[in-house]
Amino acid sequence: MAVLDPRRRRRSTLILLLLTSITLLSLDYQGFAPLSAVQSGVRSLVDPLAGGADSVTSPFTNAWKSFTDFDDMEAENQRMREEIAELRAMSIQSSAAEEALRDLLDEIDIDYVGGADTVIGQVIERPGNFQSYSVEIDRGSNDGLREGMPVVTSAGLVGRVASVQDDFAEVRLLHQDGFLLGIRVIGTGDIALAEGQGLGRDLEVTVAEGASENTDIEVGAPVVTSGIQGSSYPPDLAVGIISDVSFDSASLELKARVKPVADLGNLRFVTVILWTVDGESTP
């Protein structure tokens, strides 16, 4: 192992590492398949260890979080208690509404996904310091996942499956810059395209056709996926609420912002809906 002699400082070692790194970067950009295979194999080995470490240390990490976020958590608890009370009332109403919705969607020939198969996945890799747009889950093609499938929590849409390996998948989160999503505003029925604007920012919606200053869209209005033909998402998945509305008289465009209802920064478990736009939903 002379190559590891600590007394040597050959420049050729550095040059070799630089060239190898550049080669790796180049192969990665070209989608070199064997590199993906290596990636999958190494992840299969280490991901269970990381998941196990997370389980073992969760009491300690939870204590750290409660120490650093105590004030926020107290307010959050109060808010959640109030929301639970509201949700109990809403669940009764929504059961009836769901039935009516299913009938309506049948009439206009849109697939209803309320009864679609789902897979629950645990988030095994949360965003690091430089990775704010993706999480990794412990479910993959062996569990029926395909690229493009929508991913939700009980609150609403969080993103879609971006890439799939045998036993894990990458989920792209909807606040990613340029993430496009067809939405429908509940109440007015306006259909538009929402676009991610980056970490911590609301989605931006632009309505050009038929927009006027006297819009019916109001702040606080709920927004769901449009599910129109060709959309990458099934209809009526909760997306968020309108947080701002403004009319640009120069371009005659109505601009709105949508605050996602799902907490994208603190995902632990997510649900993948086994639904794809082309109907290829199961293995």
Partner: protein
Amino acid sequence: MNGGWALRVVSVAVLVLVVHLGIAPDLRFAGVAAELPIGLALAAGLTGGVERGAIFGFVFGFVVDLFLFTPIGLSALIFGVGGWIAGHVFMDRLEESPLLSAVAIGAGTAIGLLAFVVLGLALGEASLREAPIGRIIVISSFINAIVAFALMWLAHWMWAVDPLGGRGRLGAGRNFGL
């Protein structure tokens, strides 16, 4: 290759990787998680010399790359060069002390993360534009400086029974007559 030495290297690498992936994201300070892998690559160079630092940094960086959504080869490049430079510090007989180790690893982390961001942006990684880069660099460097002693201890232990016969946690350089 000496089996015990290889086992130690792999054990330390896996330990730091598991902590980085499974625990560090939950232990954030001001919203920033620790960046321990680059700290270990620097410690490996500081304790092991130029070539060991460079090769360990490169291989460990490559493994880290496999778990990130950033380009494969980027961390390998940064960690490899970082380990190589840190090895020069070792070779130049910097008096080893906890304080100097902390300064070297803290400063090295800052420079390495900055290089990671600059190269990542040059390669078109849009997600890096959104990251609070200044805050991440300052806090991660500070955290790594704080845990430098632990990283140096791990790196010394990792190299202690290498095939060249280095012995002792803090005296590897002296044992080679440096």
